[in-house]
Amino acid sequence: MNFPILSSLILLPTIGALFIFFVRSSNSQYQSSKYVALFITLANFFLSLYLWIVFDKSIVDFQFVEEREWISGFVNYKVGVDGISILFILLTTFITPICVLTVNATIKNRLKDFLIAILILETFMIGVFCSLDLVVFYLFFEAGLIPMFLIIGIWGGERRVYSAFKLFLYTLLGSVLMLVAIISIYWITGTTDVIKLYELGIDAKYQNLLWLAFFSSFAVKTPMWPVHTWLPDAHVEAPTAGSVLLAAILLKMAGYGFIRFSLGLFPDASLYFVPLVYTLSLIAIIYTSLVALMQEDMKKLIAYSSVAHMGFVTLGIFTMTQQGIEGSIFQMISHGLVSAALFLCVGVVYDRLHTRLINRYGGLVSIMPKYAIVFMVFTLGALGLPGTSGFIGEFLVLMGAFKKNILVATIASLGVILGAAYMLWLYKRIIFGKLINEDVKKMVDLKRFEIVTLWLLVLPIIFFGFYPEPLINSIEVSVANMIDMNDLDKINKLALGD
């Protein structure tokens, strides 16, 4: 492959953003800038789809690797994909056009700037998932904060300034330690190239500190309990498209980072810290589920449910079993689709009634039947009903967990029940019940573009629920290789005394 397909994926949205930026705007041309954004993001989606088709799923190595000299003699710009990262790229390019579709209803002012921010953000997100150099990764990982800060701050709700600052400073604080760790890795091993680092390995005596430094960044971004508090604020105040991107993709960067870097580079340390991660994950699952039960605000409820779901993800990753890691990846993809869909659903009713308080709604089923149907699918997806993609992920994670530690797995299973409780209760309070409020009666059912965007998400959720093979197929070899390469199994066995 001579055509730099990954770099094109990264650059294309930026080019689109520049195009929108430089074309002179009058009010009437807002529409055209929207079509440009839609066209660019769709082109990117088809490009990544093509990438997935051409991608050879049976090969262990990174594919489509591009390498260019960047900071001479120090860091090279290096990108490439394996079976894991390609799924996240696909998720990113799939969700972004959907976000662009929603802007009509949600963004009232400065549409052009918003589209530019979204496109730039897409560049950074794709960059995170395909960079094969730690410095390049850090660059993309941090850079994403700039557009996100602006998206929440400019187009957000009432407390947007507070939320934007909290998001920015929390994540920045977490990440600076990772920068120290990255530079230390360079001085310890002489390279920041991930592939070379996989081969070289890092001396076990450094691993624990380095692992903690990376962990501080990823834990904030995941977010894990107790550093999750920025997430509900950010979600609540962000505009719909911002919440969708945040939940669907930005949170996955950390999960991806755990797999690619924490497990891949520091296997010994990962094993050493398994109890810590288990504990934090279980607290996240149980505690935030309980918190979610109590929420009055729809977006906050979904935000807390995200924390709980990400708890499953971290739990699965650190079981270090084939099933657990595959389940985590599957859960991340599925959560990306489901949470995006849920935020879109909230956005739909918010645009009509301008409130997110659950008790202001009720009885929507009689006036918005189409909405009730799609919302049902997403609710079931979120609680992990068999037949939706949510089930596969949770099931695999729990299976991995049962292999390792029955107690942990049992507690985590309780989280599934709690998840069902808060999701169904939310559904009941909004969709069923008596239609009391006058202004609720005036609400109209889904418009055409809303139907399109929501059904675009229904299809993959159900499809992958029944037929997860394409996804599993794609990650299987890479995950197996990750486990083999770092002898995670062997380390596990030694630790268990087999």
Binding site: E69, W70, I71, S72, F74, D113, V135, Y138, L139, F140, E142, A143, L145, I146, F149, L150, G153, I154, R160, V161, A164, F165, F168, L169, L172, L173, V176, L177, L179, V180, I183, S184, Y186, W187
Partner: protein
């Protein structure tokens, strides 16, 4: 005398100073003309420096004046910044009614002094250059003499700077007393053994230099002087003296005192940490943009010192890279400040920026880029500047310094974000003027583009800087 062609740039500037002085006195109403001629002579001086043979490493006047790669690079940096400062502030000095013939000539004097400082290889030559630049700066700071703040800042700067010069001179005399020479290379040879007097000499010299780059705890003058001086002088203060002082820092630490590393390393680390943290914390409460940028530059000098404190060539090079990128960022910031003009009045409070993005999208975009870059967020140039510093620092296993420095960036990010918040999230105010002169626009566009596009080819500057020979 056969090497006189090596100091042609300095000679040229001296001649221009004398010529312009006479020219300005005899020709009436020639202030604008003198200003333009000054800019042109700076460009000519730049051409003369670039024209010098790059391979030359030589010392003139019985080894007291160095023409080497470090001096060459720093002089180019100095004069380039000088040119951009002149370009961007020409309109400002007209409107603020400080357009007098003395203004550009004083700037030339100060630049000449800095060039002497940069090349100095002898305590006496160094002190001469320092005093030349300082004397010009005292007058410049109080140039707007009808303004109370400006006169106050000039006086304050004069008193405190004279004190620090006194300390510095005392340090020099101690060094001379214990090493029997004023030549840097000779000092290194003669000071193999540590004596108390020598240590005191080093401390006094470092204190004097720290004052010049406004490192904590010798920073008190900076906020007042930055705020009180006319903005065109503030931008000069923020850029050029830092280049000269940093070069002298490098020369002192890496030639005469190189062997005495354990004597000064802790001092530099302390200065660095104190500046980074104090600069970040103190800037949070500021309301005036010029005052804020004073604290911000204190904090930035802390990072530059962190690079020096490593005691390695790599550290020095990272500091030079840092100061280069710092110059561009500050230039861009001040260009934005020069654009905040309405009815012939300049605005410099943070609140004046409120809602700027609605009326002036391009200007706010530049400010956004500059501020995120000052905060050190990738992929902007400011991130790379910090990155090089931390690479050098961590290589020396100075983890404490690195972690404190990075935490300070998080604190600093807060006040930069606050400005961005005011620009982008707050309700709009009255429009500013949109017509600006070409030099100012060019400065802003060029510097913003540099910051924004730096990541595409980061090796360019690093390659140039890595050719600098320190010892």
């Amino acid at each position: 005398m056969e090497n006189l062609q090596l100091i042609i740039p300095e000679l040229f500037i001296s001649i221009m100073i004398m010529f312009l002085l006479i020219f300005g006195v005899f020709k009436k109403n020639s202030s604008q003309l003198v200003y333009n001629l000054t800019t042109i002579s700076l460009v000519a001086a730049l051409a003369l420096i670039i024209n010098l043979d790059t391979q030359i490493q030589s010392s003139l006047f019985s080894n007291s004046y160095n023409i080497d790669s470090l001096a060459r690079f720093m002089k180019i940096l100095l004069i380039l910044s000088g040119i951009f400062v002149m370009l961007s502030s020409s309109k400002y000095i007209q409107i603020s009614k400080i357009s007098k013939i003395e203004y550009p000539i004083l700037i030339l004097c100060s630049i000449l002094g800095m060039m002497v400082m940069i090349s100095s290889n002898d305590l006496i030559v160094f002190y001469m250059g320092l005093e030349l630049q300082s004397l010009a700066l005292y007058v410049l700071a109080s140039f707007n003499r009808d303004n109370l703040l400006s006169t106050e800042s000039g006086l304050k700067y004069f008193v405190l700077s004279a004190l620090s010069s006194g300390l510095l001179l005392y340090g020099c005399s101690l060094i001379y007393g214990f090493s029997e020479t004023t030549n840097f290379n000779q000092i290194m040879v003669n000071t193999k053994e540590i004596e108390y007097g020598l240590t005191f000499g080093i401390v006094f010299i470092l204190v004097g230099l720290a004052f010049k780059i406004s490192a904590v705890p010798f920073h008190m003058w900076a906020p007042d002087v930055y705020q009180g001086s006319p903005t065109s002088v503030t931008v000069f203060f923020a850029l050029l003296p830092k280049i000269a002082a940093l070069t002298v820092f490098i020369r002192f630490l890496y030639i005469p005192f190189y062997e005495l590393g354990d004597q000064w390393q802790m001092i530099i680390i302390f200065l660095s940490i104190a500046s980074m943290v104090f600069g970040a914390v103190a800037a949070i409460g500021q309301k005036n943009l010029k005052r804020l940028i004073a604290y911000s530059s204190i904090s930035h000098m802390g990072y530059a010192l962190a690079g020096l404190s490593t005691g390695t060539t790599q550290g020095v090079l990272s500091s030079i890279t840092y100061i280069t990128i710092y110059l561009v960022m500050n230039l861009a910031f001040f260009s934005c400040l020069f654009m905040l003009k309405r009815n012939d009045e300049y605005y410099e409070n943070i609140d004046d920026l409120s809602g700027l993005s609605k009326n002036h999208p391009l200007l706010s975009l530049s400010l956004l880029v500059v501020l995120f870059s000052l905060a050190g967020i990738p992929p902007l140039a400011g991130f790379f500047a910090k990155f090089y510093i931390f690479v050098a620092v961590i290589n020396e296993k100075m983890y404490f310094l690195a972690i404190v420095g990075l935490l300070a960036t998080v604190i600093a990010a807060f006040y930069y974000l606050r400005i961005i918040k005011i620009i982008y999230f707050d309700p709009e105010k009255e429009k500013f003027e949109t017509k600006h002169n070409l030099g100012l626009k060019f400065t802003l566009v060029a510097s913003t583009f540099f910051i924004l596009a730096y990541f595409i080819y980061p090796s360019g500057i690093v390659d140039i800087i890595s050719q600098i020979n320190i010892n």
